[in-house]
Amino acid sequence: MSNLAVLPILIPLIAAITLVFFNGNVTVSRVLTRLFSLVSLGAALYIAWHAMENGTIILETGDWAAPYGIILVVDRLAALLIVTTNLVAAACAFYAPHAGLGKKEYYYFYPFFFFLITGVSGAFITGDIFNLFVFFEVLLMASYALIVLGGDKVQLRESIKYLLINLFSSMLFVTCIAFLYAVVGTLNMAHIAERVQEVDQQGILTTVGILFFFVFATKAALFPLYYWLPHSYIQPNPVISALFGALLTKVGIYSILRVFSLIFVHRLDITHELFIWIAILSMIFGVIGALSTNNIKLIIAYNIIPAIGFIIMGIGVFNQDALSGSVYYLVHDMIIKAALFLIVGAIAYVAGTSDLRKMGGLIHYYPALGWLLFIAAFVLAGIPPFSGFIGKLQLLQGAFGDGEIILAITALITSLLILYSIMKIFIRGFWGEKDETAGFGTKSVKGMIAPIAFLLALSVLLGVGAEFFYPIVASVAQSLLDPQIYIDSVLKE
């Protein structure tokens, strides 16, 4: 049964390899992509159910005992994230044929799509720090290919920056692993955690921890290190932007969550105090970026940064309420960011521009799209019936409970400004007189609406069904607060 743990990596990998051979035939590629994404989703759901019922699934690859081989660990957090990843991937797989990819579909789009999912799933379930680096590279390599696919001039220009910053931070990741290996002499995360615990995280270990934070913060786009993100994320096709916005930065934030709830938890006054300030600054600067522009894609791209700020806020406060808020918000944000990128992609497609000043009155032609955007804005800002609300409520409860008043107030004001930045798209783009001369309404959004509606339905379900989801999230937070559970389940003492 423990072999289940490898399925979320194996299925997308097989899918990617298979699709390489069917590259020339777009019809077959599309069918296979949908089929594989559904199989992968089914497997993820079954694994999550199994992990919730019977506890953490541990796979010792090649039958080597815990600290010596590579261990795959599907605990409740990883299970939750794998299911979310596969839901987003399925929505994107169904959106892709309608996204206007054109010739890009012949240039190995679908194989790279599945390689990206392989990397993301692998990063979520690995229990080995160097293996985490390798899966980071798998997903980054696929993202390099996807971001430059098509090769427009602007795209080439932004890709080169994206590649350079990621290459630099990867090399830093290797350096961090070298330092950590020199201090603790092991690469298995549970074993590292045990050894760090034995010396009470003395001396050099906090420095290595901060260095790890720097690496993951670059991947996750936190305050001083987010400058590379907004312009590079809006260049590729909307379906690729949706995958990036939903998955890539979240892998960085997951790594922070894992490393700073399992390994470096003995100097909370240094590390987690730093997170609180970074959270405040990420929220402020991210939302300023979102308000500063009239480009609808850029507004959504900048909105990634305050969302990451919210999640790191929970990790910084580090109590039961705040951590369950973080986990809830992480899952919610993966779904809603994918939905928002797909919506603005559809809007830019039908309006022929992503400049807000050149559109208006779209609601007369595309009512479904307009109302989906309206719901998405409410979900993102955290209006009560929807999923953003419960995550933020928990985060704020945690922050107030810990006396972090400035943080909590910044979070509240940020939510208001996020709502304003998205509503700006709705008001300027969809309201207004019917403009016959602009030539809107000629393009069909058939096929685009269903995946978006699916993602929004999920996030509404996550909000309305909080009674069902909340206990799961709370138990995830509980296990994050007690690293001993993870260590014992891996090292089997």
Binding site: L156, F168, A178
Partner: protein, 112 residues
């Protein structure tokens, strides 16, 4: 011995940083290549430079050098090799399409 290699690594990192901050794309790529050398050298040093046999079992040694960092480096080398290859091709395409290799000129917004 470790001290010497660490000083060498420091020099490599300084050179790499200087090159990455320059204007020409090709110098930046050279900088990233040197940075990866520095990182790999650091892994082998951090694993310890104690003298011992090569990590092959049948040559009659009692002690061996640590085999794990060597495996890590081998993995990391092929990864950075692939990324450098992509980066070089990307730089070539950028030069062909945009007609410049000056990073200062590769900026500006396009529709704001």
């Amino acid at each position: 011995m470790e001290t010497l290699i660490i000083i060498l690594t420091g020099v490599l990192v300084s050179v790499a940083t200087y090159l990455i901050l320059s204007k020409s794309v090709i110098r930046v790529i050279l900088g990233t290549a040197i940075l990866s050398h520095a990182a790999h050298l650091l892994i082998i040093t951090m694993g310890g430079l104690k003298t011992g046999g090569v990590p092959i079992l049948d040559n009659g040694h009692d002690t061996f050098t640590d085999a794990l960092p060597q495996a890590l480096i081998l993995t990391s080398i092929v990864i950075s090799f692939a990324v450098t290859a992509i980066l070089l091709v990307l730089a070539l395409r950028t030069y062909q399409e945009l007609g410049t290799d000056n990073l200062e000129k590769l900026r500006g917004f396009y529709d704001e």
